[in-house]
Amino acid sequence: MPQATVYAATITGVEARSVEVQADVSSGLPGFSIVGLADTAVQEARDRVRSAVRAAGFEFPNARVLVNLAPAPLRKHGTGFDLPIALAILTATRQIPTRLTESAAAVGELALDGSIRPVAGALAHALAASRSGYDLIGPSGALGPAQSVDGLTCRCLNSLQDLRQGSLNDAPKHAAPRSEINAPDLSEVAGHEGAKRVLEIAAAGGHNLLMIGPPGSGKTLLARRLPGIMPPLDKSERLDSALVHSVAGLDETTVLDGVRPFRAPHHTCSIAGLAGGGSPPRPGEMSLAHNGVLFLDELPEFSPSALQTLRQPMEDGALTLVRAEGRVRYPARFTLVAAMNPCPCGFLGDPERPCKCAEGNVRRYAARIGGPLMDRMDLVVRVDRIDPDLLLGAPPGEATSGVRERVLRTREFARLRGGLSAALSGAPLLNVCRLTPTTARLFSETARSHHLSGRAVTRILRVARTLADMNQSPEVLAEHLAEAVGYRGWDNE
């Protein structure tokens, strides 16, 4: 019976789901059909496979060729099915031995000359293959990142012509991760000592940060230096973040080297661009910033509806897109860093230049962000223009490496004490804060007089816990709470 099966996978969210590619070659009216909920790109595989198989010196059967993608109810998309379909047909017609594709999953797009191109999501395919206990067959371009998956054997295939030698080579090993992270240094920013402390708090505790200041005062400069002072990604974080980059078709190598992602979408970014979407769905900027920094410059210029999509992931660390063809879940645990001018002209509150905005415009400008989002900003800091003398004559500030050392120490202290507070709330959060009765009473009075919401109280406690960790203090003291309350811009207005 001229039939063969090769394994493949299709990407849903950041996960590759295993798919069986079954080929049946039988006599009858010559034709080539693909069944099993295949999208346009998969249907187009027919023409690419036919040409590539012939170009590689094999024969495309002049017979009825039926390819079935199982399980049938799962939607299959992408050009990565080209290679498994070609392998299944070549195996079914006995043009290549069964052992070449035995217990292996394949992924790759075919060019008309038989060469094989990498596709987006190679890392997801590698994880799926490793989960099912298969080897992975693909072009060397796709196998580099795939080798960061433990215990996976990769078989390298760069063109269908290579099949004629009857065996596949193991892929060359991925180069060792680079140890030094090449990012802009904090010492290049003069002045702004208050803002730098707030950056350090954000890095140490994973808190959200809003910088308010006139144009050109250094908000972007500061934001770009935040990933550098955060601890490098650990092994599982690397894989999670790289996975999102991989399925989005972006280069994942810097993330695999441990560099935290820094995403700075323009303020014209759409909801789908920020949250993810499209058909098939692709991850958005929030997910690409997973385990890193999402920087939104000119926050009030973003469309209000796009900004509201930030709220779910800021609470859950993930977001779910529900579409007609099903639901997908993307990870999105990011540190939000936002920047805005205090008013449309930018000079409200500036000690020297007067603000020219009408009062109503200032209110409307700030109102575009909305209370619920503002409530999630743990640290609000003013970034003012700095003195030209300081800019031109100042000695270099503290370097990124020194601040990162302190951040690492703070995180280590937090870990020994029982873990980061950023994910805690309710009783567990109160437990790790270890407030004395006097401090607790003081705080509840402050909360009442500031009309703080339950969420605001929780968020202040988390920041205060981080401040205490920075001082290596097992208890959260009144001074920590006072500083944390001071960073709540919204409630202080």
């Binding site: 009858g28 010559p30 002049n62």
Partner: protein, 121 residues
Amino acid sequence: MDKQETGRRGEDAAAAYLERTGMTIVDRNWRCPSGEVDIVFLDGQTVVLCEVKTRTTDAKGTPEEAVTPQKQRRIGRIARSYLAEAGLEPCPVRFDVVSIRVLAEDRALLRHHRAAFTLDG
């Protein structure tokens, strides 16, 4: 020479050519409710359904281009009827196209496209 006459002479020329290259013609202008197939011949064990297109001018495109996807699907339906009626299924089948471009009263260019199309989808 009218269009029917051109077509008929083209089919004759194609049949003569195929016989000369060792094919066995089994049917000419086989009709069924789905339509007509110009030539059916045997290439070894393979049953070949052959469409012949003759053109005197390239004004409306080459003869090959006239075998559109709709026409291919129609030939596919005719093939099913033919195989069923001849009791031949299952056997290897092929679809060929012979294109003839008439250059002068006694000269023409003939091209034989083997496996010109398949029934995809």
